[in-house]
């Protein structure tokens, strides 16, 4: 599949202060495919606590997606990500046969026919992206972390979630990005630019990690060394969750942190397993799974009437 991402312009900052945490929003469509000839079109909308995605699958195949920062209300975020895809592809809600909402704001997607918990959607999405060999999935989301075990069809067999604190989540990385005044996309690579791997900072609380990072800077650590210490803390944190469900070969990471090599390589080192690679944006796994559930429901029940918001 030919996959290329066209980056949408970043949302304008509300003040002059640089926003180092701000990650790149994206919108993509498979220009080789034509949705007009598709028999079923299903849409998945994942409204997460930090980011929202819209994925369109045509006849069960990924056709288009958008990924944007979640705004201050879920219905608007759902509308925004669908609007981005509509602008790119010309697809309207009247053309869609089923819409599934997932994520933290799943019940507030105004045009969805069904809401499905994100754990099942991430497993289904990872199964599509990584194939039937995927067994262990780590979803490092904006404000929670999920460890999932699934079978060869992407059905969940074991899961746990930790959403009590921001440690080990994307939001935690955003906090460190702002503190270090380094763009979030650069943190991973910079964490490798150290003479010696430092001890991990506190892995149980972002507030503690932040104050510990400041203390390390005052003690003479370079920024890169502090970032390395935080990446190591995140890796240790999520590995402890993964161990509770049991790690098996076929390891796949979803969510925004999958793009941070500093965390991913350290997780791989602790586990002794390489994460599976995909050319599809790891951040869309939940919405992709939701869209695939929608595709299956269309096949079972037939198309649903559009809910126009």
């Amino acid at each position: 599949m030919s996959v290329f991402a066209e980056l949408a312009p970043m949302a304008p900052a509300t003040d002059a202060k640089p926003e180092f945490w701000r990650w790149q929003e994206s919108c993509w469509a498979d220009e080789q495919a034509n949705w007009h000839s598709a028999k079923t079109i299903a849409v998945g909308i994942d409204v997460g606590s930090v980011s929202s995605q819209c994925v369109v699958v045509a006849d069960g195949k990924l056709f288009a997606y958008s990924s944007m920062r979640t705004g201050n209300n879920s219905p608007d975020s759902a509308n925004s990500v669908f609007h981005a895809v509509r602008e790119k592809t010309g697809l309207s809600l009247n053309d869609v046969h089923f819409v599934v909402g997932t994520g933290y704001g799943r019940v507030n997607v105004p045009f969805s026919h069904k809401a499905i918990i994100e754990i099942a959607c991430h497993a289904r999405g990872a199964n599509y992206m990584g194939g039937s060999k995927v067994r262990t999935i780590l979803d490092m989301g904006g404000q929670d972390c999920k460890a999932i075990h699934c079978d060869d069809k992407g059905k969940v067999t074991n899961f746990l979630m930790n959403d009590k604190c921001a440690a080990g989540t994307g939001r935690g990385m955003e906090v460190i990005s702002d503190l270090m005044q380094i763009p979030i996309a650069e943190l991973g690579q910079r964490s490798f630019d150290v003479d010696q791997e430092p001890e991990a900072v506190s892995s149980v609380c972002v507030v503690f990690a932040k104050s510990e990072a400041l203390a390390l800077l005052k003690a003479g650590y370079t920024k890169n060394k502090v970032i390395a210490a935080y990446c190591q803390a995140m890796a240790e944190r999520v590995v402890s969750l993964l161990e509770r469900i049991g790690v098996e070969e076929g390891f796949f990471i979803t969510g925004g942190i999958a793009k941070n090599a500093g965390v991913v390589r350290r997780i791989e080192k602790i586990l002794g397993i390489k994460a599976m690679q995909t050319e599809i944006d790891s951040q869309i796994a939940g919405a992709l799974g939701a869209a695939l559930f929608g595709h299956t429901l269309v096949q079972k029940q037939g198309p649903a009437k559009p809910i126009l918001s």
Partner: protein
């Protein structure tokens, strides 16, 4: 499916695991629901259309405190929920 509800924080790991394969055909009429003094359990239909028991979302971030009354320090020799669940679908991590 093993569904783990709970959290890990600085004080420890607090998860209640429910084996939904054992829960689906409950032979004791969801006795865990009435056994829990805090009414933490309820039935729901999961994403694979099976009716199972889960922990109500409002309790999932405070299990260490909510379950404390049923732990040995509260005078219990065994947990009311795990005792009521004769198929053995419910386990506590702590």
């Amino acid at each position: 499916m093993i569904a783990n509800y709970g959290y890990k924080d600085g004080s420890g790991e607090y998860y209640i695991a429910i084996d939904t394969d054992k829960c689906i055909q409950c032979p004791v009429g969801r006795a865990c629901i009435s056994a829990c003094p805090k009414s933490m359990f309820e039935t729901m239909t999961d994403d694979y259309d099976d009716e199972v028991v889960w922990i109500k979302p409002s309790f999932r971030r405070s299990l260490a405190y909510d379950c404390a009354g049923c732990k040995p320090s509260g005078g219990w020799s065994s947990l009311p929920c795990t005792r009521a669940c004769t198929p053995g679908a419910i386990t506590h991590s702590w």
